[in-house]
């Protein structure tokens, strides 16, 4: 794939961004990404937005937010699955031959409203809504099924969570929260057995924007310097219903991973240096590692992943930004030495119905 990263920006992480309207958050982040790329808005020929009306608290939220994202009088499209799916759409647009220089922007001011109320309304009205399914319960079902299938213990999950917080504490782009003690995690209450409250990555506010260009544009602008190449991308969806096969099959995760690896010519995880996983709970990281066949020695989420910041809808695209920073040697205190190829993962839907993987290479 001939798609290149020109610049990237993350809004400063916060549990709650209380001093800005959402359009200011989006504008500041898109503006910073363009600044990071050294590209003016006028040069863009398109914009891709990934956002969720229900989480933004407004129908057709792109009416207000397209322009702050850079789309005033530009070709703009919005996807609603997740920030990472925005990157997938952007990769398609740049590869189509129709576009050359664009920005993908995504955000989530999760503090604006109760996330679980939005999630409950995602249930279809006949079976799952009457029983009160929400995100936490779906993750609990996942933890139960994956825990049993893979033999994941509470101790392992607690250790995984603590390790996530330890890495996150070093990430200057994260919240740098105190690392909880093992006892504290173990003693936290169940929210949907076997899932404990401390197993979950707390949701935060945040935004991310990435400027990308086609190879054709780069040839026309020899002075432009990309910071990374998007060399592989894959996305898949699983079934909606949370049966056992769905919860333990990981078909969309594995399918996305395989497609992205194949696109960039990698044979397996051994050809990658690290992966930033969208692990909403400790159970997820433990299960994803096993599903993807990643050995314990493989570097997972050096940024701390969602334990560093977790603007739920765009956490996957935050992972993409962190992977870009790794391959461009700009990850600061969480930089892993000698990274040439890094993967980023995003997921969405009840118990991760949809998954996407992007692979970036240094240039």
């Amino acid at each position: 794939m001939d798609v290149h990263v020109m610049g990237v920006a993350l809004h400063p992480a916060a549990l709650r961004i209380g001093d800005k309207r959402l359009e200011e958050v989006v504008f500041d982040t898109a503006h910073d990404a363009l600044g990071n790329a050294g590209i003016s808005r006028a040069e863009l020929d398109h914009v891709t937005i990934a956002a969720c009306d229900e989480l933004d608290g407004r129908s057709i939220s792109s009416m207000l937010l397209a322009a702050p994202a850079g789309a005033y009088l530009k070709d703009e499209i919005k996807v609603t699955d997740s920030g990472m799916i925005g990157l997938c759409m952007e990769a398609l647009r740049l590869s189509s031959g129709r576009f050359d220089l664009g920005i993908v922007a995504s955000w989530n001011k999760s503090s604006k409203g109760p996330l679980e109320d939005v999630m409950r309304m995602r249930c279809e009205p006949f079976y799952t809504r009457p029983i009160g399914l929400n995100m936490t319960i779906a993750d609990g079902l996942f933890a139960q099924a994956a825990g049993e299938a893979f033999g994941i213990t509470d101790d392992e999950v607690c250790a995984t969570v603590r390790a996530g917080y330890e890495r996150a504490a070093l990430n200057p782009r994260g919240l740098c929260r105190a690392v909880p003690a093992m006892e504290e995690i173990r003693a936290s209450p169940y929210v949907a057995a076997p899932l404990r409250k401390a197993h979950q990555a707390p949701v935060t506010d945040g935004a991310v924007a990435i400027v990308l260009a086609s190879g054709r544009w780069l040839k026309k602008h020899p002075g432009a310097r990309p910071i990374a190449r998007l060399s592989g991308i894959g996305w898949r969806t699983d079934a909606y219903n949370l049966g056992n096969r769905r919860l333990t099959g990981f078909e969309s995760l594995k399918g996305s991973f395989g497609a992205a690896l194949s696109m960039c010519g990698a044979k397996g995880f051994a050809d990658l240096d690290l992966i930033e996983l969208d692990s909403q709970t400790g159970y997820h990281e433990a299960a994803f590692r096993r599903a993807l066949g990643l050995p314990k020695s493989f570097t997972v989420s050096p940024s701390g992943g969602p334990f560093a910041q977790n603007p739920y809808f765009c956490t996957g695209l935050v992972n993409a930004a962190e992977a870009i920073l790794q391959v461009s040697g700009r990850a600061g205190a969480v930089q892993v030495k000698g990274v040439r190829r890094a993967a980023a993962h995003g997921c969405h839907g009840f118990a991760q119905q949809g998954n996407a993987i992007a692979i970036f290479e240094g240039v």
């Binding site: 407004r58 207000l64 499209i77 996807v79 609603t80 189509s96």
Partner: protein, 395 residues
């Protein structure tokens, strides 16, 4: 210039009406998907990826309803994403499907969606929520009052009359008689429109689209597949889209970049699509247009912005019969959005109906000799526009 050319090779639509009490939302989407696949002569195994077309979910009451639909439209295990650009959603979804194929990553893509606007007792209350909580909610802005304000300006600039708008409705309802999927249809008169209940000046009830439920789907395939399995594909020869500011006040007056009453977004999107499709003289090269026209006043400025006539001429040409089926330009032979508006798929219905004309499958509504057809979609505060040029020949 796309790396890989793409064409529509299959079209599926349900019947559109206010309610479908016999089907769930996902069953509606399934019906359209099955019809499109059958029309293309493909099974789902041949489909590489799926794009879902769905605008605000507040009308039908299930957030992210596309995820619920995954199993019903046979998308599990495949690349899947949902596009949402308000009323322009269906047009944008088609463009997303096109990007899948043009990129070379996928060979055949199903673009499908469904909507049930009348699940909510008051769609305009939902549409009030698209506006700013602090400044605009309380002044009763919704999509009717929003476009009524714009229509004031159109009438002021060009002297267009309510009767001229009414003629558009009469033509649309008559055209829809030949469309088995249309929601509203029938023989009515200009007097009928003028006597219908006042809603927001200058709009009467018949000037306004219905709240429709139903689904639509198209199969977009690589040129190689299209030529192999389809005798008359509709090639996607040009796509264009634009996003303008939400603020209507910034789209009028001497310092504005654009004038809202002209629907200038159609001009931007059309210019781009025309350039790709080699359209230099639209009125001679394009035989059929399927315009996104939820209101009787939405056709004229689009026809002018898309260079089918000069600014201010469309109403007179309409009066003279230039936009009747088989005349100078056939406008909305399906009846258009005035007769059928399932918002989340309306733009896709425009594309589907335009594709049927190019493919020679429009039945009683078929216009003879269609080589090029154009479809538009509009969204938000009429700030989003898409334009798609379909052709019998690949450009």
């Amino acid at each position: 210039m796309p790396k890989n050319r793409a064409a529509i090779i299959g079209v599926g639509e349900t019947v559109f009406r206010k309610h479908h009490p016999d089907k769930t939302y996902v069953e509606l989407a399934q019906e359209a998907a099955v019809k499109a696949l059958a029309d293309a002569g493909l099974t789902m195994d041949a489909i590489d990826a799926v794009v879902f077309s769905m605008a605000p979910t507040q009308f039908m009451g299930v957030n992210d309803a596309d995820k619920w639909a995954v199993d019903s439209i046979f998308a599990a295990g495949k690349p899947f994403l949902r596009v949402h650009t308000g009323g322009a959603t269906g047009g944008s979804a088609l463009h997303a499907g096109y990007a899948h194929v043009a990129s070379g990553m996928y060979r055949a893509v199903l673009v499908v969606g469904a909507d049930r606007i009348a699940e909510t007792p008051d769609a305009q209350h939902i549409l009030n929520l698209i506006w700013d909580r602090f400044y605009e909610h309380d002044v009763a802005l919704n999509t009717v009052t929003m476009t009524a304000l714009s229509t004031h300006r159109q009438m002021h600039f060009h002297g267009t009359t309510q009767e001229q708008f009414a003629r558009v409705v009469v033509r649309a309802r008559r055209n829809a008689m030949k469309n088995p999927h249309a929601h509203l249809k029938g023989i009515i008169t200009i007097d009928d429109v003028m006597r219908s209940p006042r809603v927001a000046w200058p709009y009467k009830l018949f000037d306004i689209c219905p709240r429709s439920s139903g689904a639509a789907a198209v199969v977009v395939a690589h040129e190689d597949i299209a030529k192999e399995v389809c005798s008359r594909p509709a090639f996607i020869n040009g796509i264009g889209a634009i996003a303008n500011t939400v603020f209507m006040g910034d789209r009028m007056g001497p310092s504005a970049d654009t004038e809202m009453s002209e629907i200038p977004e159609a001009a931007y999107a059309g210019r781009e699509a025309y350039a790709q499709a080699g359209i230099t003289d639209p009125i001679r090269q394009i035989q059929v247009v399927e315009l996104y026209d939820p209101f009787s006043s939405t056709q004229f400025p689009q026809l002018e912005s898309l260079n089918f006539c000069k600014r201010g001429e469309a109403a007179r040409l309409s009066d003279e019969g230039a936009f009747e089926p088989g005349a100078l330009l056939t406008v909305n032979p399906s009846g258009g959005t005035l007769c059928t508006n399932p918002i989340g798929v309306t733009g896709l219905v425009r594309v589907a109906d335009a594709a049927l004309q190019v493919m020679g499958k429009a039945g009683e509504a078929q216009v003879p000799g269609v080589r090029n057809a154009l479809a538009t979609a509009l969204g938000g505060s009429v700030q989003f526009a898409t334009c798609t040029v379909l052709g019998a020949d690949s450009v």
